[in-house]
């Protein structure tokens, strides 16, 4: 069921088009993420949904009714801000109870609901503390609790995990998924962190320069990016310049710089002589020593040029013939070793036909 419909929304700041004719449907109960680099318009779009900014044109429909003229305080949406925006002069309990107080609930009801919410987010013993007496993670939980307590139709989250350190962020991601599932509230989550978006979302909209490049489930976007921008923005990917030389219903035959002819799965709308890139994810490239036998469709010989040790995996930089350079990634499955190959080792890289794809420039 569609909760929120965004219809042809455009927002300009002077000559700069921040949001350019965007259409979106948000389903009830969904964890929806707006993902994009800074300046792509995702925060502007969020502010328009919250009601802080008015679009220059377009409509926002809630349950089919246009809410463009409804002020933020009257929209049944709450926001979790990046800086948390907790009220410094109120205790944790008063902060969490604020939306209930504003909606005119009785003191008794506020107290009971705040107490039970505090229990849910495991902050009961901090009820009388002030925000400055809390750690980053605790502030974060207070902000979530405050956003959810009055059961909004929609919770808008503006990079809420941005200020936390890596380890805490991972824990909070898990808590966030649980919170969303328990509360049953629709989330619109804004972030520039692609791993966060992939881990949390039901669906992701990739934004760039005020437009949406692709909408879809995380695995769909990761595996089948529609264009070069999306492929590059989500995860790592090898991209080699390529020209289409033959098309068929199931395959595209490409002429790839340095590799010669390579076939990739067909896709709609691609014509002969289209220029673009052949893209392969590093983790889908296989590497073996040059003496081994392999069955993959495409194999090329090369040499290890360099490597980056990350801990669980190691990324290898490989020079293929004709000085084409690609990256491949292998898990460090050998106990006690940081890498499986040495610099200068001659190797064979290969991939399955389905792993590669052609993306237009």
């Amino acid at each position: 069921m569609t909760l929120l419909e965004i219809r042809n929304i455009t927002k300009r700041f002077g000559n700069f088009v921040a949001v350019d004719d965007i259409n979106l449907d948000i389903k009830a109960g969904e964890f929806f993420t707006l993902l994009g680099p800074s300046g792509c318009g995702k925060t502007t779009l969020l502010r328009m949904i919250a009601g802080f900014d008015a679009p220059d044109s377009g409509e926002i429909l809630l349950d089919g009714h246009n809410i463009i003229d409804v002020p933020p305080e009257k929209r049944p949406f709450h926001t979790v801000f990046q800086s948390y925006a907790l009220f410094p002069h109120m205790t944790v309990a008063d902060n969490i109870g604020f939306p209930l107080k504003m909606s005119g609930k009785s003191l008794e009801e506020i107290n009971t609901r705040v107490a039970s919410t505090l229990k849910e987010v495991e902050l009961s013993q901090f009820a009388d503390r002030y925000p400055h007496e809390l750690s980053g993670g605790q502030k974060q939980r207070v902000a979530f609790a405050r956003g959810l307590i009055n059961k909004p139709r929609l919770l808008l989250l503006d990079e809420p995990l941005g200020a936390l350190d890596e380890k805490l962020r991972e824990n909070m991601q898990r808590e966030l998924i649980n919170l969303q599932a328990e509360a049953g509230v629709t989330f619109i989550y804004v972030t520039h962190a692609q791993n966060e978006a992939l881990a949390l979302s039901h669906r992701i909209a990739i934004m760039n320069q005020g437009r949406i490049e692709q909408i879809g489930e995380p695995s769909r976007i990761y595996n089948y990016p529609v264009n070069r921008f999306v492929a590059d923005f989500i995860g790592k990917i090898n991209m080699l310049d390529a020209t289409v030389i033959k098309t068929s219903s199931s395959h595209l035959t490409l002429k790839v710089a340095g590799l010669g002819e390579v076939t990739v799965p067909a896709r709609d709308g691609i014509k002969v002589n289209d220029r673009g890139v052949m893209a392969v994810r590093p983790e889908q490239i296989r590497m073996v020593a040059q003496t081994s036998e392999i069955a993959d469709e495409f194999q090329f010989t090369g040499k290890i040029k360099d490597f980056f040790y990350i801990g669980d995996v190691t990324t290898y930089i490989i020079d293929l013939a004709n000085s084409t350079r690609i990256e491949a990634l292998l898990p460090n499955s050998l106990p006690g070793h940081a890498k499986l190959f040495e610099i200068g080792d001659p190797i064979i890289v290969s991939w399955q036909e389905q792993s590669a794809q052609f993306l237009l420039n």
Binding site: E73, A85, F87
Partner: protein, 297 residues
Amino acid sequence: MITHRRAKWLMSGPPLLFLLVFFAAPSLIMIFTSFRFPGEFGGLAPISIPTGENNGNYGLTIETYQFFFSDIIYLEIFLKSFAIATLTTLLCIIMAYPLALLIARSEKKFRNLMIMLVVLPFASNFLIRIYAWMIILGPESAFSQLINSILAIFGVAPVTLLFSSFAVLIGMVYVHLPFMILPLYTNLEKHDPILLDAAQDLGANGWQRFWYVTWPQSLPGILSGSALVFIPVLGMFAIPDILGGTDDIMIGNLIKDQFLGTRDWPFGSTLSIMLTLTVLCIAGLFSWFARYQTRFL
């Protein structure tokens, strides 16, 4: 570590010495004076028994304190001063708040200009500004005539604005308004605007955003502004002297009269001590309240 501590003492030495000489010592002299008899022609009567003469008072006494508490008029003047100081402070808060808020929320490049305009009256002499009010409130002034012609429409007899408590209050508010605006502005300017967005987002309308977010956060500013207004107003004598009528005597006028008019130094000292004690109590109350109000900082 030791040199660090010595440096601290060296730095605070001169101001400490200054306060010792020009505040502590005069206060002690004043306390001592309050327990003495006035001299026949002003000044003080001698402490020791003068040889060869036996008329007049000498030595130490608590007579001035008995005198202070025996006549209700002094308490009344204290209370009246209190009332004027309180009223001035409240009026200053009411008038300064919208202005400080306006300045704090205008564009950064205009703020300094507006603050300069607030401070500008200090460029001319305090007494001259008060005398200006004498003219403005005088019976011949356009302002007075306007007020009276408006009153006449409603059938009210003409009023004299000058030499009244009303005139004193106007003068007090006028002189002390910047002392409320400045600390209030300094406070309001530091408020994080995202908190207002958050409040609005969570369902607060304009009035609720002010009452639950802006106002409580501005209490420290109101408090320091109130201290800067209330305490000087309590001891003020020039404004009631110039703009007030015969009834508008405040503590300051009373003290001034003891030293310059009736030449009763001991009683003047007693009144001064009473005023100082009152101010200390109020200052203590302010700082206690400030600490209570700013737990969240």
